[in-house]
Symmetry: C2
Subunit: 268 residues, 2 copies
């Protein structure tokens, strides 16, 4: 039964690895975001609550209001938060561009993985600013798909990633928004804007990130646009397959994969 | 005379900014490299001593031996070190691939901005390994020109940078070597290899880096291959000019520029 025992042991280790990876990324993006007891925090664009549970867990004595334009997303976020036993979050359906709050209702605003989907992220940032009381802060976290590079190099993989960027731009978003956070916040009238890049560097010495980030997060996301890319002839089928295979090739023992998130803060 | 006073004040500030920038980059790359008193350190490929003075300054009680294949470079490095009043460095002309030292002659080896110029960096790393005593470490620092991205985006600037990468490859080097340090060190037989990316993030809130890194270091380096690129028809003159102008455009108040160095360590 040593084979069985090994498989069991392996999947235990595997689960632990994935938990490690989730913790690593969570720390990378969230550890600097902790709000004092009693502070009023707006999470603008909470989606289904993936970041809400981390945000609320890290600031257990802040009063968090999480809004999203989709009632269905809000329902799922409520379920998720309840399942985690979190009690400091209030949910509300609302449009980022015209939220139903009085001016200066919040001490802090948190916006994570939202601006990338908006046609006019600057307008969203300007709409949020009056909701902050004097001295209040905004924190914005976004990725940047143009920050990706890897070893071995692959033109097919570069092209596949560019398809994802192009499709997001067509849909009115911007997958390269991370690098733009500084000018966006400054132009929206925030003061003391500071940007902190958060680079994810992955090689074989970090197996949790190889699996959890390179393969199951980034490569899986690129694979998600396969049907659109092929049906619209953005890439030939063989080139696409090579692109995906080359991304997975970076998960081999001699492969390396790099991606950078950006975290920005501004004040009122 | 207020105009004159301003100009004077400005150039004072300007000089201070450049010193700040040099310190910022020096800290980014060198702060983690400090060798204990009495340790025997080999700097392999010291060139004209730009890194030697920092290395020796940070480890004033280590005995540093700096070698380079070029007698002329060694002469200039000696002058530089003497001008700084540094006394813990011995210079020697020598070929990285066949250095005139007994096995296990050193406790630590330091290699900075050297591997990028070598046709077979793996062979260099293998040649150095026997020179380390058991428990000894190697530190390798390299850039990666493929880690560059910026705002606003520019295809012409991307192409100009790619010309630099292609020319370095033609010359037998590899301007994208930073991302490869992990597999290179592992394959050369070093143990416990750890890579630490050192990202230079530049926006208008960091004026010393705008001038000192984006404009005067990176853009100047790309401009350095202008004549070769144009004479060989790698780019049209107008496209080249646009590429350089677009790199300088990232130095404007709403511009952003990103570059990543890699620092790797391994053990014997």
């Amino acid at each position: 039964m040593s084979g069985g025992a090994y498989v069991h042991g392996y999947s235990e280790r595997e689960a632990e690895r994935l938990r490690d990876q989730a913790r690593t990324l969570t720390s990378l993006l969230h550890d600097s975001v902790r709000y004092p007891p009693g502070s009023r925090v707006l999470e603008a664009g909470c989606g289904t609550g993936a970041q809400t549970v981390i945000l609320a867990g890290n600031s257990p004595d802040a009063a968090i209001t999480s809004v999203d334009i989709s009632p269905e997303s809000i329902r799922r976020a409520e379920d998720r938060v309840m399942a985690e036993g979190i009690t400091n979050v209030t949910f509300q359906v609302g449009d980022l561009f015209s939220l139903p709050f009085d001016p200066e209702s919040f001490d802090h605003i948190f916006v994570c993985f939202v601006l990338e989907h908006l046609a006019d992220p600057g307008r969203a940032l300007r709409a949020l600013r009056p909701l902050l009381c004097p001295g209040g802060t905004i924190t914005v976290i976004e990725g940047d798909h143009g920050s990706v590079y890897f070893h071995p190099e692959s033109r097919a993989a570069d092209t596949a990633i560019r398809c994802l960027v192009d499709l997001q731009r067509e849909a009115g978003g911007n997958a390269l928004i991370g690098r733009e956070l500084y000018p966006l916040l400054v132009q929206a009238g925030y003061a003391d804007v500071q940007v902190s890049p958060r680079m994810v560097y992955v090689d074989a010495s970090r197996p949790a990130l190889v699996e959890g980030f390179t393969r199951q997060t980034f490569t899986a996301m690129v694979e998600g646009v396969r049907d659109t890319v092929l049906s619209r002839g953005m890439m030939e089928k063989d080139e696409w397959k090579k692109g995906i295979a080359d991304l997975k090739r970076t998960c081999e023992p001699d492969g390396v994969f790099c991606y950078t998130f950006f975290s920005a803060t501004g004040k009122v």
